[in-house]
Every structure is written in C-alpha cells, then in structure tokens.
Amino acid sequence: MKKAMSLVLAAAMAFSFAACGGASGTSGATSTASGAASTTGTASGAAIKIGGIGPLTGGAAIYGNAVKNGAELAVEEINAQGGLQFVLNFQDDENDPEKSLNAYNNLKDWGMQALLGTVTTQPCLTVAPETAADNMFLLTPSASAVDVIKEDNAFQVCFTDPNQGVASADYIADNGLATKIAVIYDSSDAYSSGIHDKFKEEAAKKGLEIVADEAFTADNKTDFSVQVQKAKSSGAELVFLPIYYSEANLIIQEMNKQGCTATVFGCDGLDGLLTIEGADTSLFEGVMLLTPFAADAQDEKTQNFVSKYQEKFGETPNQFAADAYDGVYTILAACEQGGVTADMDASAICDALKTAMTQITVDGLTGEGMKWEATGEVNKAPRAVKIQNGAYTAM
C-alpha cells in the first residue's frame, strides 16, 4: 500500500516538475489573457508587463484585493487612452514573506518589467532586497515601513510610518485637540507599531501626555473591552488609533458601549470606516483622521474613480485601492518621462524609471503634486478630515 502511495506521489512529482518548466509560462499566459481580455485588444504584445503582489486570500485579503482592483481599473483606463499600453498580472502572497518571494519569482518567469507591490510591509521587506539584486523597479502602493525603500530601486506611494506618527502628534499638539492621550495599537503589525513608536517619541517632545498605551495582537482582536476600559479610566481626552478600520470599528463600538466619549484620532488606516457594510455610521461622528484619500471627496477625479470602481466591483474603494490606482499612473508618468518602451528589459526600465521618478509630478487621488525623493519617499501633504453627518469634512 505504501509503495503504491509513493508511486502515485512520485508520478505526481514528476508531473509537477515537468509542468514546471512549461507551466510557469502557461500560467502567466492565462492571467495575461484574462487581463488583456478585460483591457481591450489594442497593441497586443507591445504592452509593458506590470506585476502585482499582495494578499488575495487569508486574513489580510481586504488590502490585497483593494490594490488589485484599483490597479486593474487604472490599467484599463490607460489602455483605453492609447499611448503606452500596460498588462497587469497580480499574484497572491497570503501576507506571507515566503509566498511573496514565490510570487515574485513566478512573475519574473512571466516576464514582469516593473513591480507594483508588495501590498503589505512584512513581505515587502523580504521582496525588496530581491528586486534590488535583480535591478527590478519596485513601487509599493501601501507598504509603509522605512526599510522597504532602503534600496534605490524602491519607491512608495503611501506615507512612511514615522512620517505619519510624527504628523499625527504634531497635528494634535498644534491644534490643541488634547493633552491626555490614550493609544491602542496592534503590536503584531509592522505598520501599526511603526506609527506608534514614532508617535510616542514626538508626543513626548510636544508635551503631550500618554496616559494609556495599550496593545492588541492579530490573534487577539475580538475583545477590546480591557483596552477601552483602561483608556476610559485613565481620563484620556483623545484615543489615538494607528490601526486599520475593521478593528477600529470594533473599538469605537466598544467605546460607545462603555460610554467613553473621548475623541478618536487615526491615520490613513482608518479610511474605510464609512464603507463598512452594515455599520452604524452615526457612531463614527467626530472621528478625525489624517488621510491622503477620501472616497466622497468632491473633485472630479475622485468621483470618477469611485463611480467606476463601484460599477465594476460593487464596493466603495478604500485608500489601498486609491494608492494602487495612483501607483499605476505614477508608473505611466515615469515611463513617459524616462522614454520607456515595452521592448526594453526590466533592468533598463528600472534604470530609466529610477531617474524619471525624481523628475515627475503626479496629481493623483491621494495627493496633488506628488513628488519623489531619490530615497524613494513620497512628498505629499496629508489632509486632516473629520467625519460629520456621515461624510468627511476638511478640518
């Protein structure tokens, strides 16, 4: 019996390796085909191959899917305009660095010429050094740690974590929002703990008092009663939440339950609160956040994006989708600036884009006049908004 079993497995293995040589091309081709089919049939073969990596399954699937959708929308628009053509192949990494590396190698086999990703920080820390070694251009829409852009081929669309932590503390102090502050953050998440650490440093400099500093972890984010109670009994006037909106929703509901009336202040991760299906948005009244993107902004560009996104995917886009959308347009702008064409190889494209990135200015959904430093950091101003009557209003 065991023999038969090993035979079957050995056969399967032989098959999988045989498939491996050829299939890597085929699998790429299928997704290319689906991408191309949804984009239009113009100039087939002369499109620049953009790879995307992010979590499409598992606990972080919200972020990966948003990025994928946002990027798809942008590629479709760009291809419809004529001019440079893009084709997008987005691969799942389950928010696991190891799988992210596999996805990256898979995309290389496909013939990727520039990488839009990865979506989450931890995998990006693993993939970025690989891209540097291969001289592959990397633009991450949302991985916000500073170490992500350590190499000169890596650029960010989002703010860096320290940048957000400092900006939040400054905003709170300069506008006199509060002096006693409670922080609730996700200590198992690089984004959240990154902002938290810098916020604490800057708050101390600005004379803000942190009266409660409470953590939670990815495995323990069901019950927030203790964290909220501690924040409440510490007498905090403001609760700082450098976390994502799905957990923030739970915390705000718990605050309401316990009758905690402190102001809620957050970073770009809180964007999306108003789009949660089934949520009682009246609880979010008065929540303040620093965000580069607001889905209900009145400018034409945002409205156009939001309506197209809703039509195509049946959801309201969050900041991740907007970052990805801007990311694709940034690659387009840089390609045009650097004179990149589809027949150049990845390394030549990377060299051209590296210089072009510091020369371009992009007016995107997540910021007017975005410019990039050679370090890879983006220069844009965060907007502070407050939720009033179920909508963002500028502060």
Partner: protein, 293 residues
C-alpha cells in the same frame, strides 16, 4: 469596582467561548474527532444571518432559524462527503481532512462575500443592565449568551442521557463496534451528531457576532481555536466541562490583559492551560482514562 467590571467582561467573552466549545466537545465526545472546521461553520452561519437581516430585511429570529437549518444541512453534507469515507481510517487522517474543509469554507466565503469586513448588527434586543449607579454595565448580549449556553448545556445533557438517540450516541462514543452489534446505526448517529453540532455553530456564530460585531471570512478561525482550547481545558468530551472551560478561559484572558499585559495575553492563557493539564491531565471535568494492556 474595576475588578468587577473586568470580571463581567471576562464572563461575557467566556460565554461566547463556552457556546462554541459546546459544539466542539459534542462532536469530539461522540465522533472522537477534532473538527477544525467548526469555527468556519460558525462564520458561514453568521454570514447567512447577516444577509438575511441586512440585505433581505428578515426579522432576526427567522434569520437565525434559517441559518440553523442551512448550517445543519452544511454539517451533514460535510460529514457525508469528507468525513464518512474516512470512518475506519486513523483519526489523524480525519483531522487533516477537517483542516481541508476549513480552508475550503474560508476560501468559498472569500469568493462569495468578498474580503471586506461586514459590521454585524446585534440581534439581541435586550437593554444593558446597569449596576452600582451605572459604573457596572452588563450588556444584553452577555446575558443572552450566558442564558443560551446554559440552556444548550442543559438541553444537551438531557438529550444525551434521556433520549433514545442520545443514548445511542453515548453507546457509539464508548465502542462503535459493540454499538453496531446492539443494533445502533452508527453512521446515522454520527451524522446526527454533526447536524446538532452545526446547528449549535449557527447559534454560536450569531452570538459571537452580536457581541463582537465584525464579520470576515476568517472570523471563525481564532475563536474556534480558543474555544477548542476551552473545551480541552474543561475536559474534552464533557458537556459541563466545555461550559466551565469557556467561562474560565474568557476570565483568564481578560484578567491577564487587564493586570499583566495586553500584548502577551494569549501566551498567558496558553501557559495556564499547560499548567492545568499537567496537574489534571484530562482537563478540569474530564473522565480519568484507565489503561489496560
């Protein structure tokens, strides 16, 4: 006063664990398998209620009944196609299949309902009870969850000890072969166990999401593991043990968050579990197993 307030929070978290653990322990006690997919059936049950209430506008009670019916069906289908063929295989084989089922349900949910979190509207209409001049608040969800889990516990104990079907279950759990010889249909008894376990999962899902109102394809996974821990804590296979284990686990978790560290709460919970098992190797209320050669 703070302590009391933490205690109440602990009991309310514990009651959610208890109700999930009841389903776990029921299936384990009779079918002798760790059903790792239990947490994901909970998630499916919650989605059904969410859709029925929020999108189709049904009254919550009707939605819960529909969800229980569909989850029962789901449980029977899973049992028929994934577990029944492996009845005579090793228990590890069934464990791995259960994990496969868990992946399957999570990924199906992802494809059907998407990754965006849904905010679950509580189905409990009970107003919170205020004690000590409003300084202690017991939410309606907590009261309902404790009552429901106590009722389910009592119901299960009665069912297992006093009905024909229940006694058949006990017989199957003691010795499948002997039970068959006594004219008990082992297959349908085990299928029945899964049906009951899955219906309980639907109820547990509604109460979990009412107390902690967020719903994602992975919602059931971690509470599932914790409830499994609770079931082991109380002595897996023991129905009152699951209830006691669940409540205790919730209280320990909240207390370690409150007085030791919010960051290391899980580590502390698991450490307590290890210590308890070292002192009482079959859990708090588990049966002692005597071994024979």
């Amino acid at each position: 006063m703070e302590f009391l307030s933490y205690l109440i929070n602990g009991i309310s978290l514990g009651s959610v664990y208890a109700i999930i653990a009841l389903g776990y322990t029921m299936v384990y006690g009779i079918a002798k398998m760790l059903n790792f997919a239990h947490g994901d059936v909970i998630m499916v049950g919650s989605y059904i209620v969410f859709i029925a209430v929020n999108q189709m506008g049904m009254p919550p009670l009707l939605a819960i009944v529909i969800s229980m019916a569909l989850c029962t069906l789901l449980g029977i289908v899973i049992e028929r196609f994934a577990y029944k063929p492996l009845r005579s295989a090793s228990s590890l084989a069934v464990l791995i299949t259960a994990i496969g089922v868990s992946y399957l349900l999570q990924n199906l949910a992802l494809l059907i309902w998407g990754a965006d979190p849904k905010s679950f509207t509580s189905v409990v209409g009970l107003a919170p009870v205020q004690l000590a001049g409003g300084r202690l608040v017991i939410s309606g969800e907590t009261i309902v969850t404790i009552l429901v889990s106590a009722v389910i516990m009592a119901g299960l104990i009665f069912f297992v000890n006093n009905t024909k079907m229940g006694r058949a279950m006990l017989a199957v759990s003691e010795d499948k072969g002997a039970a068959q010889l006594m004219g008990i249909n082992v297959n349908s008894t085990i299928a029945m166990t899964f049906a009951i376990g899955s219906a309980l999962a639907a109820v547990a899902g509604v109460l979990l999401c009412s107390a902690y109102p967020t719903l994602q394809p992975t919602t059931g996974a971690m509470p599932g593991i914790k409830a499994f821990t609770a079931a082991v804590f109380g002595g897996i296979g023991s129905i009152p043990g699951a209830f006691v284990g669940g409540i205790l686990l919730g209280v320990i978790e909240i207390m370690s968050k409150a007085y030791i560290s919010t960051q290391l709460a899980d580590a502390i919970v698991f450490a307590v579990l290890i210590i308890v098992l070292l002192v009482r190797p079959t859990g708090l209320l588990g049966k002692k197993i005597s071994e024979k050669v």
